[in-house]
């Protein structure tokens, strides 16, 4: 359960996230759970000592990444979401993402997108680095490596969903995404294997 004490620890995590990152999650809640659901999230945040209203989120501003974690933990707790639900949320937030629209012009080929991956990441977070060390159109796979992002395990499933949906938008086929390395399981970085 998300407590005030835990929230106070989380808010101290170094790094920032764009308001848009927060807002897409709340857009998802609004779409799936309606205004009542959204109010529950706002109330939970106020209860944890970090009040914020949906309408106050400025998409282009930067917020502490810990605040994003608090928001995600609140959503998970209120709606009793499991790992699959969080992954689904990661897939669906694409719909609300302005950055995806901005980067759509690179969705003409896998090569173009892979070149833009580090920039796409930096538009969202001031911490962590995302790269594609390996990919093959012929062998139908891509590896995404996320370094310096030891923030919270709640991101693992969200990112899994997000990356798999973005990959589907490029490779023109249903994809499978697995987290093959995780910083919370003793690895030096997170790694996702996407196959199609």
């Amino acid at each position: 359960m998300l407590t005030k004490e835990e929230a106070e620890k989380l808010i101290k995590i170094k790094g920032e996230v764009r308001g848009l990152g927060l807002r897409v999650d709340w857009d998802f809640v609004l779409r799936e759970k309606g205004k009542e659901g959204l109010k529950k999230v706002e109330d939970k945040l106020a209860e944890s000592g970090f009040p914020l209203k949906y309408k106050e989120i400025k998409p282009m501003d930067f917020y502490p990444v810990g605040f994003d974690v608090i928001s995600l933990l609140a959503i998970k707790e209120i709606f009793n979401f499991n790992e699959k639900d969080m992954e689904r949320m990661g897939r669906l937030v694409i719909k609300f993402s302005l950055f995806i629209k901005i980067f759509m012009k690179y969705f003409a080929s896998l090569e173009l997108v892979t070149k833009q991956v580090p920039r796409m990441w930096r538009e969202h977070y001031t911490v962590g680095d995302l790269e594609t060390p390996e990919f093959s159109k012929e062998k139908k796979y891509m590896v995404l490596r996320m370094k310096n992002f030891r923030i919270h395990p709640i991101y693992c499933n969200i990112h899994k969903g997000y990356f798999s949906k973005v990959a589907e938008m490029i490779v023109k086929a249903p994809v499978t995404c697995q987290e093959t390395k995780c910083m919370f399981k003793g690895n030096l970085y997170h790694e996702f294997l996407i196959t199609w």
Partner: protein
């Protein structure tokens, strides 16, 4: 001081961008015309609620779907070729294939998007459902055929009457 000014400008630009994004999103969501955005690879990258409704696919199902799966193969090949060559297609009649599997006649419009170097980065695709129009067209055609039959019958009868009257007159003339 200079930094403050720069921050203010960035903040202003960021607010403008947010307002613009909200405006575009509202139009896209509001549009009763089914719209989607397709990548040069032929993958649907975005769709509005009207498109989700007409296709019967959810956002998660439709985004990432090859556009060829929603139309007749030959027709869509022509559409993509024309869009990429001419940049625009206005009102091409096509067979749309929604999730129900029941073919739907549709009029399709496309408009290519280009980047700063004039490379095509994808295209918008809009649909107009022709089901009702085609139904009305069919009914009208049926009515016209019926009217033509009726016309043939009544005019034929009229011509026979004229002929008979003519014959009567000839007979009367002979008798007199």
């Amino acid at each position: 001081m200079v930094k403050d000014e720069k921050d203010k400008k960035i903040s202003l630009l960021s607010e403008d961008l947010t307002a613009l994004e909200s405006y575009i999103s509202d139009i896209f969501t509001f549009s009763p015309l089914p719209l989607c955005f397709v990548s040069p690879l032929g993958v649907i990258l975005e769709s509005n609620p009207a498109f989700e409704k007409i296709s019967g696919f959810s956002f998660d199902e439709i985004v990432g779907k090859p556009v060829e799966e929603l139309f007749d193969k030959k027709e869509v090949e022509e559409l993509v070729r024309d869009t990429l060559e001419k940049g625009i297609v206005e009102g091409k009649e096509m067979k749309f294939l929604p999730k129900t599997g029941i073919e739907m006649p549709a009029q399709v419009f496309t408009k290519a998007r280009k980047d700063e170097e004039w490379n095509i980065t994808g295209y918008f695709l809009g649909l107009f459902d022709l089901t009702e129009i085609k139904k009305t067209e069919k009914e009208l055609r049926k009515r016209i055929e019926e009217l033509e039959k009726f016309h043939k019958l009544t005019v034929g009868r009229e011509l026979k009457m004229i002929e008979l009257k003519k014959k009567i007159k000839e007979l009367e003339a002979k008798n007199n």
